[in-house]
Amino acid sequence: MSLATLLLLADGRLPSGGHAHSSGLEAQVSAGRVRSVEDLDGFLRGKLATGALVSAAFAAAACGDVARCADLDAGLDARTPSPALRRASRAQGRALLRAGRAMWPVAAIGREPHQPVALGALAAAAGLSPAETAVAAAHGAITGPAGAAVRLLGLDPYAVHALLARLAPECDRIAELAAKRSGDPVDDLPAAGAPLLDIGAEHHATWEVRLFAS
């Protein structure tokens, strides 16, 4: 493994378009459910238990066996009832794949895979392990909306990063759990859903003016 390679893959400055997405936070800010760092804490803990766990397991599974990518992609479709979230995930997968192809010899896995599948394929090409991939996925699932929170709410960036530091052990735990289950059949992989994120994404997609794509 290469620690520097893992850091490259997890870096928010990777030109993969992730900064354009709030992972559902913008809709919840607008609904008045997230106003403070404390609210963001609740949002991110929920995200870790649901979307981050699913993303990390699917990214680790794709990294472990790139030949499973098509099945994993269908598995994410079945776990993503919101068409707006499916579009957002595929747009991010496509952008990530484009960046990744410039960096490593990434396997051919289709043009617009779900983001976790693309992440797993990149990680495999970069020589990373499923466990490392799971950490990158879980980390990205909370740092993305945390950054969006600073922009949407003008929260104190120091306080937001202090929150991320407090969540780091839980992020590691979720990644470990995800990697442990990544060899399971697709139907048995984590499927934890978040009703408000599905509902919020559908409403958000109809807004005429918004800061983030999702």
Binding site: G24, Q28, A31, R33, V34, D39, D41, G42, F43, L44, R45, G46, K47, L48, A49, T50, G51, A74, G75, D77, A78, R79, T80, P81, S82, P83, R86, E170, V186, D187, P190, A191, A192, G193, A194, P195, L196, L197, D198, I199, E202, H203, T206
Partner: protein, 254 residues
């Protein structure tokens, strides 16, 4: 307590449906209800005992054959209770719907009382050309009470592929469940999954609800609310309008 119940419906060959199996054990008792003359058969689930309580292992099997129409309702809400120290109570529902068959599952809500530890495992397999409407409503705790631990683990397959795979965990052990990513301040949540012929209109269905076309041939309507009345107001219209609700001679719901 361990209990098993099974209902199997098949076409009677004359445009109607007959039950070939209808048996249950307390607390899963099944009773045929509704008019004999209709094309479909209605069965009510009757709670024959309190619970589910911790340690309970309950199984319900539903089989709908080609051309048969079955609607399953329940007479009262299911109340998951703590009971003695024991492993989580578990209700496993396995349903199959053959081509041309229709199944409507429209039970009263599950209430996760404080201290309960309950898991509901749902596995539904619909053949191509079968029709499904599957409703699940959840209330997190009785009035003024915290929620108990509850996990819904749902898998719906249609035409040999997984159409909908979802888990929802609430209660003290579920991190962030009452936070703004999962349920926010809501204490009730409901879902309607349809597979096959559809009638739901995609889009927003109120501020805390949405109707979503799935990636495969089906739809999901989800609603959250401060109490079950909000959820019912958002979801009931979708249940009334589904094609499986229509019976020959009966007016088609708007």
């Amino acid at each position: 307590m361990r209990a098993e119940a099974r209902v199997a419906a098949e076409s009677d060959g004359r445009g109607g449906t007959r039950l070939t199996t209808l048996r249950g054990q307390s607390p899963l008792l099944l009773r045929r209800t509704g008019p004999r003359a209709s094309a479909g058969v209605t069965v009510h689930l009757v709670g024959g005992a309190a619970g589910p309580l911790r340690g309970d292992e309950l199984r319900l099997e539903i089989e709908v054959g080609p051309g048969a129409r079955l609607e399953l309702l329940s007479v009262a809400a299911q109340l998951a209770l703590p009971g003695r120290p024991a492993p989580a109570s578990r209700l496993t529902i396995t349903a199959t719907v053959a081509a041309g068959g229709t199944l409507r599952w429209l039970p009263e809500p599950l209430i996760a009382a404080a201290g309960c530890d309950h898991v509901a495992i749902t596995r539904v397999t619909v053949e191509t050309g079968g029709s499904l409407l599957w409703r699940d409503d959840l209330v997190c705790g009785r009035h003024g009470e915290d929620s108990g631990d509850f996990v819904a683990d749902t898998l719906v397959r249609y035409g040999g592929s997984t159409l909908y795979r979802h888990e929802l965990a609430v209660g003290p052990r579920a991190a962030g469940w009452s936070g703004p990513a999962i349920l926010g301040g809501a204490r009730a949540v409901g879902t309607v999954v349809t597979a096959g012929p559809e009638s739901m209109v995609p889009g927003a269905a109120g501020p805390d609800a949405a109707v979503m076309p799935l990636a495969g041939p089906g739809m999901l309507a989800t609603a959250t609310g401060a109490d079950i009345r909000h959820v019912r107001a958002a979801l009931d219209p979708f249940c009334a309008g589904h094609p499986t609700a229509r019976r020959p001679g009966a007016p088609v719901a708007a």
